[in-house]
Symmetry: C2
Subunit: 614 residues, 2 copies
């Protein structure tokens, strides 16, 4: 784990810890402390003046910004001052007020998008001044030194001369990160958009963001069109191994999904897709590789190897997305084959790298990603939970869609309704989704109709202890079940003995994962101050029942919170702030990945976790 | 003009002058002096050891390559040693023999192509070593730090695992400049090609080069398919101004032309176009902008402004060329709207920046580019010669194709053949090309049938002085002509009085151009030690007759040499050597462009030059 240094900012009186070597400017904006800047921290505007107490070298630009007395007094440009030791930093009052947006789990992000626009009016050329169009433009953007896209050169002559605006030679340069991607006639500096994608195995979400204000202009979601190739990443990887043409088709389906969402959000907000200059993508390693046409086979077979943790420069066009042709696609780096960019995005959005509390982050799914940390030390692992939580391999299992039982309450004191169900869409129950499964099992364990080993009580014993429920214990296709819903006297939705076993396997894998991280970090389960349940499953799960079956640590249910779609929030943060991207990159160094599959004690620990807590 | 420093190399005993700040390694390889290196001058292989007499700082890598005694003794890594003052450099005998090729006007180019290949065998991953494929590869390429193309990541997993070679995990990395563009299974390190394009307004030439040996594998040429839009750049620019769809069509035709040539050279040499990893393009500013889809209108109207002197990163795909999809296209920078990349390439190939003789470079065409320099000081200009030399605006004019009279000899002493013609293809004469036109005029001036003001003698005077030629003076369509060839008693190919005027205008424009450069440089016409005639026209022109009409300075015809297709040679040099590209870039700083069109004395000087030398 990287060494960290302490920086205290006044007058804000905030103390932060950052990896050694980070610039003071980055450390501040990363923690929501605003320092003046117009160049975006590129070391050219010389506005980010701060006075520093502590050892910081004089950069080559400092002498041009400060007198020698000021330098001796500790004044430095914050973007060039590297924090190599503990520092105290005095920040002068702001001249330009930076904008900020609230994103993620209560994270205030200071707007510093990669997409910048600059409107400039150039001097018209003459025989005495035959400077080329591009040199003329770049001279006017003197605080930026972008590399130049061919498209920008293509559009430049006409943008300058046929702008239809008065005066001629007024254009707006579109700079994304360090690239001049386009030049537009006239002043379009107020119009800049980005799209954040949460590319899930099941559901894909797109958020159109106004990058000038940080506010979402439209949000849409849809099922990933790759679904026909299988519900989870392993079946999709298998498809590419069985059929050489499947990779191309899966890539095309990912592109279709993303492109459809782009059209929908742009239509809804009335935004020209050509004014979308960047997209950000958070997805697991398999979804990301498939979307980019990279063979996922090595992800699916031991030793589970990614093509790359950090992807090279990718364009939105490489994702088949119909936005500005020069728009880059920011893709989150991944920690491992099963702790992908979606989790890195989620860690960013939930502040796992900054919050000083001991927190456990759990994203439940077929593959369950688990992170434990206290803002200084971070451990991550992936547990193979299997598809139970997604309703697969469960007799009456289904996805969380209309007709799915999502809440189960059992009250044997109630004569009329000892079993009450909450159904998505308030329709006739059709099956059981993950949260309903957890509820059903937890409620049965709570009353004792399921014992702690996971066995349904025998009928005779049940009839004695649970007279109002016992007739729900019957056999379907030779297997013992507990009926949740009847249809015409026949069991319609029920929990089978084997379903309980499936849930036990799933929860045992997850619990083994976080317990090993607790041990690796040298803390106790009871020290955990917060459990963050990520993803949509986390939103529906009952914290009390998650504790009851041992899925999460046994702490106060008030400390178990749903974090929502943190992957999508992380993608929004990446669009809004270059600093947050630096934070994502830093996570690669800061998080230690713990591989479960080669631990000799994993199986023993797993078996210990199969039982429900007493 | 940049300051230059002197470096003397021993044991070669060569002294060179280079811009201050150039590395010793570059200075040497630029002048054909070989210094050991395997990393290609990237400062990593530490093989380019030299001992330097003179002030050169110790770089950060030097202490890792040399003992402190060696450092004190002047040993340095040549690629990191900047020549800021005059130096004496001792070069140890070579361990690895670099390859070189002869290109251009007797230029020895040490092979250092941008295209590099590295074959590596990687350790297979395991659960204990889950490093990603890309990280594993990059670690094995430790002396390179390329940025990575998405295509390389796409091809990497399969190249490593399905290589069909033994052992697995043996791949060849294709690195072009600083980009990893592909990864190929097995060892393909011996196979790398590039294509050099000379994109002329009339003719386009492609040379397929084996980059491992520097030898051409195939050469093809064809007419530019843009011809239907006009013979010269101005008519093509006009076409784009009259019809908004013309730019797209001209771009498509340029792509068609280049793509056809690519297929032809690859077919001829039996080379897979996917093994062509880079192309280089030399063309005038208009041809280059049209090929890249950049509006050329500002080139065609005052104040004659280019979109950019140095193009951004361009791919071969942007030129519509079917080679490796990641192949970059190197495009020569341009000095001005009318001294384009073709001339910069030509200057490179003819060593205008290095040869210490006072030399005049003339590329005759509708637009005539002229460069004068002595290797230290360089001046360039463009003269609007008009289309006479290309046979346009000439009564019997035609391009240098079959049936064109290319040589005219007049010998009034010969009774049988006072006028002898050499015809391209040895067929019946059909018309007069540029060199034939110059010959006809020069021969008539030499004998006095044309006076120095350019007037054909009156019939009576001619009959008296030139009895064997006088009957060739007659009238066609009301204009006086000199008949070169009869067909059935009718004048078939002839020179008209107006043709002579056209030639006078053309040669006056050119002569005014170089005379002004001679004055600007403060030298005399007779000081010029060599005249280089560039382009195909230069190959056919009779030096004696060029002097006789005043097209070139009046120096010994032995000093007037045809330089051939120097633009194409320059493009080959750029493919073979990164250093030569640096030389092209340096020319932008070293050459001063002299604009003729805003000189108040241009018209007077032009009129003075209309007469033929006495």
């Amino acid at each position: 784990m990287a060494d960290r240094v302490r920086i205290s900012f006044s007058p804000n009186d905030r103390e932060v810890r950052v990896p050694a070597g980070v610039s003071v400017f980055d450390a501040a904006s990363w923690h929501g402390i605003a320092i003046d800047s117009t160049c975006g921290g590129h070391g050219t505007c010389r506005k980010c003046r701060v006075r520093i107490d502590g050892p910081v070298e004089v950069s080559t630009s400092d002498p041009r910004a400060f007198s020698s007395e000021e330098l001796a007094d500790g004044w430095r440009l914050a973007c060039l001052a590297r924090a190599e030791a503990d520092l105290a930093v005095e920040v002068p009052p702001l001249v330009t007020r930076p904008k900020a947006a609230m994103v993620g789990v209560g994270r205030q992000v200071i707007l510093r998008p990669a997409v910048q626009k600059r409107c400039v009016t150039l001097t018209e050329p003459s025989l005495a001044d035959q400077q080329s169009d591009l040199e003329r433009l770049l001279a006017a953007l003197d605080d930026l030194e972008p590399t130049v896209d061919l498209l920008a050169v293509r559009n430049l002559p006409k943008a300058l001369r046929d702008s239809g605006v008065d005066p001629d030679f007024t254009v707006t340069a579109v700079v994304v990160d360090d690239r001049l991607v386009d030049v537009e006639p006239g002043d379009t500096s107020g119009v800049r958009y980005g799209i954040a994608f949460d590319l899930g195995t099941t559901t894909v979400v797109a958020t159109l963001l106004d990058l000038s204000t940080g506010t979402p202009a439209a949000v849409r979601s849809m099922l990933n069109r790759q679904q026909p190739f299988g519900a989870d990443v392993i079946t999709r990887i298998s498809a590419t191994m069985l059929d050489p043409s499947a990779l191309d088709r899966l890539t095309a389906l990912a592109h279709e999904t993303l492109a459809t969402l782009v059209r929908e959000v742009c239509d809804e907000a009335g935004v020209d897709p050509l004014r979308v200059y960047e997209v950000a993508l958070a997805g697991n390693a398999t979804m990301t590789q498939l979307a980019l046409g990279i063979d996922p086979e090595p992800l699916g077979v031991a030793p589970f190897v990614m093509s790359t943790r950090t992807l090279p420069r990718v364009l939105a066009a490489d994702l088949g997305v119909p936005v500005h042709p020069g728009a880059p696609a920011y893709t989150f780096p991944a920690l491992g084959a099963y702790v992908g960019g979606d989790i890195v995005a989620g860690m960013l959005a939930s502040g796992m790298d900054r919050d000083k509390r001991l927190r456990l982050f759990v994203d439940v799914g077929t593959n369950c990603e688990i992170v434990l940390g206290d803002g200084q030390r971070l451990l991550a692992t992936a547990a193979p939970a299997g598809p139970a939580f997604e309703g697969a391999a469960i007799r009456c299992g289904m996805r969380a869609a209309e007709g799915a039982v999502e809440v189960v309450k059992i009250d044997q004191a109630s004569a009329d309704h000892p079993v009450r169900l909450q159904v998505i869409g308030d329709v006739e129950p059709r099956g059981l989704c993950g949260s309903g499964l957890v509820d059903a099992v937890a409620e049965l364990v709570a009353i004792g109709l399921l014992d702690s080993s996971g066995r349904l009580l025998a009928f005779d014993a049940a009839q004695e202890k649970f007279p109002r429920l016992a007739d729900r214990l019957c056999e379907v296709a030779g297997e013992r079940v507990f009926v949740l819903h009847w249809d015409g006297g026949e069991p319609a939705v029920y929990l089978s003995q084997r379903d309980v076993r499936e849930l036990q396997f799933a929860k045992a894998a997850i619990a083994t994962g976080w317990q090993l991280l607790v041990e690796e970090l040298g803390v106790r389960e009871s020290d955990i101050q917060q459990v963050l349940l990520a993803g949509s499953f986390g939103s529906y799960l009952s914290p009390a029942n998650a504790v009851r079956i041992g899925l999460v640590p046994n702490i106060s249910v008030l400390r178990i919170v749903s974090a929502g779609n943190v992957a999508g929030e992380g993608a929004k943060m990446a669009l809004l702030s270059m600093r947050e991207r630096a934070g994502a990159r830093a996570l690669l160094e800061e998080v230690r990945y713990v591989e479960l599959s080669d631990r000799p004690d994993f199986n023993d620990r797993f078996i210990e976790q199969l039982a429900f807590p007493a």
